[in-house]
């Protein structure tokens, strides 16, 4: 282990962010995820919901009782207020350390930190574009490299761009809250987070590489990404194995692992680029060898030989991986109808002030009386 002994979690009341109050006025995926990170570490988060509820309540999939599972994931340990007057809202905003909004949230006077998450930012030619998660992959240059050579490129699924924007909203907002605590900032601050620009952190290395070389990668097929080979997800007897073999040492160990002595010292195969040139020679042998072996055994043997192999767990297998179980990588969201759902935990653990692992999910307006009237 990279750490020495004696760093077990120290349980205590409250969390690292216990003195922060967050008011979410938008309730989209990005602001909900941002607020979730605050709630995970003990901040009080108040969802100010319209009478029909935040839009996240309408996201599929749904439980047998008709509740949104995505909403449950995004809203553990928060409070829900609905059916309020303008004065009630003003009181809530006056007490907030951080207010979250989106492009539709009107501008208003406040003394807090106000973070607005939009698709493209509030200025520029795309400012008023109708946005989507997939658009961020198209414009950040990732989409064209995913899919079969003949095309079309394949759209990544889910809400990935909004989640990444939510993480950035958390970083920007907490920075300013910390700046206040440090005495570096005192006045009200408006923060703008662009979802599109948030997704550029994935491709900025590629852009600057292209600027210096004049070269941009082309789509080479499913799981084939220049200049590294072998890299991808390959079938074994009992499941899928993730390969990334980069250095000569890893290649030699990989050849030993798969019993490919003839390939081990071929000059061309000593570099990832050389192996990619010879993919038609190498790949059939790799595939044949992998299909006779079990992924689980290869994974452990490969890691033992310092090759970064991976199990590629299905959604069902993910919950059974002992590494994730031991780390409480999944907590339990408790819905108001009594349903429980496994949800991903926060990916970082503060040992002295541990996070909440799951928690209750408020029904619409469940806490209205606590804050209104």
């Amino acid at each position: 282990m990279a750490v020495t002994e004696g760093h077990g979690y120290t349980s205590r009341m409250g969390g690292a962010l216990h003195d922060i109050t967050v008011v979410d006025l938008a309730g989209n995926i990005a602001t909900s995820y941002c607020a979730k990170m605050f709630a995970d570490y003990g901040a009080q988060v108040v969802n100010v919901e319209p009478t029909e509820g935040f839009s996240t309540r309408q996201l599929a999939p749904f439980t047998a009782g008709g509740e949104s599972a995505m909403h449950a994931y995004l809203h553990t340990n928060k409070k829900s207020v609905s059916g309020y007057s303008a004065n009630d809202l003003q009181d809530l905003l006056d007490d907030a350390s951080l207010i979250l909004g989106d492009a539709q949230t009107p501008t208003f006077d406040h003394d807090a930190i106000f973070t607005r998450v939009t698709w493209y930012g509030s200025s520029g030619p795309y400012a008023h574009y109708v946005g989507s998660d997939a658009q961020c992959f198209a414009l950040n240059a990732m989409l064209p490299n995913i899919g079969h050579v003949a095309g079309p490129p394949l759209i990544p699924t889910g809400y990935q761009a909004q989640i990444v924007a939510g993480k950035n909203a958390y970083v920007a907002s907490l920075t300013q809250l910390l700046g206040r605590k440090l005495g570096n900032t005192t006045s009200a601050i408006d923060i703008e987070v662009s979802t599109f620009e948030s997704m550029l952190c994935l491709t900025e290395v590629g852009v600057i590489g292209a600027y210096n070389t004049g070269l941009t990668p082309t789509r080479m097929g499913i799981n084939r990404f220049p200049p590294t080979y072998p890299l991808g997800v390959f079938p074994c007897q009992d499941g899928w194995l993730g390969l990334t073999v980069l250095t000569p040492g890893q290649w030699h160990a990989f050849c030993d692992l798969l019993d490919m002595p003839d390939f081990k010292h071929v000059d061309l195969f000593q570099t990832a680029v050389g192996r990619l040139e010879a993919v038609d020679v190498i790949e059939p042998v790799i595939r044949e060898r992998l299909l006779t072996r079990k992924a689980e055994a290869l994974f452990y043997a490969g890691q033992q030989a310092r090759i970064p192999l991976a199990r590629v767990p299905t959604m069902a297998e993910l919950f059974q991986v002992d590494q994730f179980q031991q780390r409480q990588a999944f907590g339990e969201a408790r819905l108001s109808d009594g349903t429980t759902l496994a949800v991903p935990s926060v990916p970082f653990r503060l040992f002295a002030t541990p996070p909440n692992f799951g928690g209750p999910v408020a029904a619409l307006g469940e806490h209205t009386a606590e804050f209104v009237g």
Binding site: L139, G151, P156, K181, P217, T244, P313, R327, A342, F348
Partner: protein, 417 residues
């Protein structure tokens, strides 16, 4: 000045590659004093996997665009941590710091006697952020991974692509930038608590678990229904048209997603050929025919002109960029997103802004990535109080330096050191 919110915070950055340095870069962008520590023989591997005499002579260490991109706004020193003097100087530096960031392989810090306990002996309230691929605890704590391995291990490939294909990766070493972004969040959370209470702590980030939030739509589907979502490529269960359509020119594509009838009516007004398709149920039933009609309609049109025209009518459609065209995107240009800085050895280079801003303009980048050991004299004298002679002795003994060295070539120590 709000961009300097973290003024007064000092971070010692022991990390290498992409994830760790990106984590520390965020702190540097926001005003923290981030001091990157390398050594002449064990420099950041994003400069290069290995040194050769020719590479050293040619200033190869300063030419890595990737290294330069994630290390801006930092100061850089070199210290040979395998040498007792170098290790002591690091601990002195830690005694002035709020936090340390590291992403060494498991076993390296114990070998150097630089575990959290050692750092805490130097600075009782220090924060140590450790960010190994699978986390610092559990049976896989010492397992190795690249950013691609992290993506494979997260289950995310089972949510993309088509059922007929293998689980499909995004790659771009997805685990690295996501690890870096979450590392910034983790560090800020611990710094907030430290500022409130005076208490430091060990912080453990799992890069693989950092991707679970991006796979949440699949994880929650399984959690709620016991079934994983079907892998249907560009086909959307309830929306049509929904896809990527080929436009004029090589590898020019239009992403188009129609989510309601208002958007559909607007699209038909731009593409009358589509009016033969009816309401949503008809379009879903005739999806292949609709896609073919759209491919024909797009085939002779410029993707970016089409994007502008369709978005002008409230239709969610965009063109695709590649890594070259992205640098001249007109929206990013208008917003001043790419900041151009002169950097030693490589000259003028583009640098991405933070995706958040505290006013109309992006947060200004103060300095390009430092060269190896660029701030040796400044940090050793101003922060650690060493005089000129002591610094020169460290240099002549090879404990510090400003050029990479081949392994095992440290000069013999002088008697006075």
């Amino acid at each position: 000045m709000s961009a300097q919110a973290l003024q007064g915070i000092r971070i010692v950055d022991l990390s290498m590659g992409w994830a760790g340095p990106l984590c520390a870069r965020q702190m540097a962008d926001l005003g923290a004093d981030v001091i990157k520590v390398e050594s002449c023989e064990r420099f950041d591997w994003w400069r290069s996997w290995e040194a050769t005499p020719e590479w050293i002579e040619d200033d190869g260490a300063e030419k890595s665009a990737a290294f330069n991109m994630v290390n801006r706004n930092k100061r850089a020193i070199t210290l040979d941590l395998e040498d007792e003097t170098g290790r002591d100087l690091l601990l002195q530096l830690v005694s002035t710091a709020h936090a340390v960031v590291e992403n060494y392989s498991g076993g390296v810090l114990p070998k150097l006697r630089l575990t959290y306990d050692h750092l805490r002996a130097a600075q009782p309230n220090i924060i140590l952020l450790s960010m190994p691929p699978f986390g610092s605890t559990g049976p896989w704590a010492e397992f190795r991974a690249y950013g691609s391995t992290v993506e494979q291990s997260s289950g995310l490939p089972h949510l993309n692509g088509l059922d007929a294909d293998p689980p499909t990766m995004h790659h771009v070493a997805y685990g690295d930038p996501m690890g870096g972004l979450n590392g910034g969040a983790a560090l800020l959370t611990a710094l907030y608590h430290q500022t409130s209470s005076g208490e430091g702590q060990f912080v453990d980030l799992s890069q693989v678990e950092s991707l679970f939030s991006l796979a949440a739509h699949g994880i929650m589907t399984y959690s709620a229904t016991g079934q994983a979502p079907a892998r249907t490529g560009n086909v959307h269960a309830t929306s049509a048209p929904h896809g990527v359509y080929r436009c004029a020119g090589e590898e020019q594509w239009l992403l188009l997603q129609i989510f309601d009838e208002t958007q559909w009516d607007a699209l038909c007004s731009q593409a009358p050929v589509l009016t033969k398709f009816g309401a949503s149920t008809d379009r879903l039933a005739r999806r292949d025919e609709l896609d073919a009609a759209l491919n024909t309609w797009c085939a002779n049109q410029d993707a970016f002109e089409l994007m502008e025209r369709l978005q002008g009518q409230g239709i969610p459609a965009v063109a695709t960029h590649n890594t070259i065209s992205l640098l001249s995107d007109r929206h990013l240009e208008y917003r001043g997103y790419w900041q151009w800085l002169d950097r030693a050895v490589v000259g003028r280079q583009p640098n991405p802004s933070t995706p958040y801003r505290f006013g109309a303009q992006p947060i200004a980048i103060q300095s390009p990535a430092p060269t190896l050991g660029q701030h040796n004299d400044e940090v050793l004298s101003d922060v650690l109080g060493l005089d000129e002679q002591a610094i020169e002795r460290l240099r002549s003994n090879g404990i510090i330096g400003e050029k990479p060295r081949m392994p095992g070539t440290r000069p013999p120590r002088s008697a006075s050191s």
